[in-house]
Amino acid sequence: MSTYARRAWMILWKDVLTERRSKESLNALVFFSLLLLFIFQFALGPDRARVEAALPGLLWLGFILAGLLGLGRTFLIERENECWEGLVLTPGDKSAIYLGKLAGNVLVMAVVEAALLVLFAVFFGLDFTAALPQLAIVLTLGTLGLSALGTLFGAIAAQVRARELLFPVLLLPAVVPVLLGSVSATQTVLLGQPLGEAAPWLKLLAAADLIYLVVGILTFEFVLEG
């Protein structure tokens, strides 16, 4: 078990190190989030009440759009220098690679989400501090589901020619429950209601996370074959 965890950790470490040195994805994703904010503002107009009413949906729209770009790139880096063959030749259970990649994606999404929250707070004059602990729980559950799906589909899309097209076509319908649960729970939290009000949604998100994780762990080796 410890070698399994170590394998997952090494994948994560490799990706974090690569990202830290190349700064390929994160910089662009954070900049993309800033652009999204402008798009939202132009689409909704200057009325602040409208922005506040649509806020939970807007936030998750931002996360999912950023996820479409970020998660879809998960395995692209492995296509260079025949790294993919290296992954296939890795001894032991291949699902460790899936979990390592998943952890990396959760990290990336966490940074993007934090950036989007700060940008929303600054540009729309909102204050999230009171709801922050509850919001963190909702974001964690939602992000885990989004990333679990995105990592699996990202591995599939990486080997397909029309990758940019295929990834959203697979991800968007599958992610509907995560989106519904996250938006509803985020709404509850942002309205200042206790977290218990959103309990059914949190349970649904947890169940979705669990199912996606189990399917991902069980089927990843068949995707990795290339």
Binding site: V160, A162, V169, A174, P177, E225
Partner: protein, 216 residues
Amino acid sequence: MAARALGWLAIVALVGGLGAALGYAPREAVQGNVQRIMYLHVPAVLTAYLAFGLVVVGSVGYLLTRRPGWDRMALAAAEPGVLFTGVTIVSGSIWGKPTWGTWWTWDARLTSTAVLFLVYVGYLLLRGMVEEPDRRARYAAVVGILGAANIPIVHFSVKWWRALHQPSSILGPEPSPVAAPIMVALLVNWVAFTLLFAYFFAKRIEIARLEEPHAG
């Protein structure tokens, strides 16, 4: 040959079903003739679920054995499955126009059926984008399994999403007990649709076998 026999059987059953739906079954008291769309709508959705069940069986079978037969089975079930889901949505929409006064409403069952439709359209698109048979079969199997595992989650999320926004359903009071002739007409049509699906399924497997480079 077996497929051809199934086809004729399906045609006979469909004619019988049409007769039962339009002639034998009585005019429904509240909704009038519009209700007869049910004889198309309900068998279509039941057949679609049967088809997606077979997709899962074929997908799991392929991943475990790597025999192309399982993949042909998944493909042959998925295509009519999407078709019947489409029939379900369109017939529901045609029923909804005179009954609810709108072609489309974000009703719980309507929405989750639409999501199901989109998931399996994505499945078929994926199949169209991968050339190499083994890779296509593997990717499709993974997406097929995930799509099926997602069905209960989609179902509950959409149901709660509607329930939390709009407490009383548009469908109103509990449906009254169904009269026997209506039930019979429904059953006949259900059998007819299942036969039609079986014909599509058998025929599609035949075609898939011919499509393969080394047909055996």
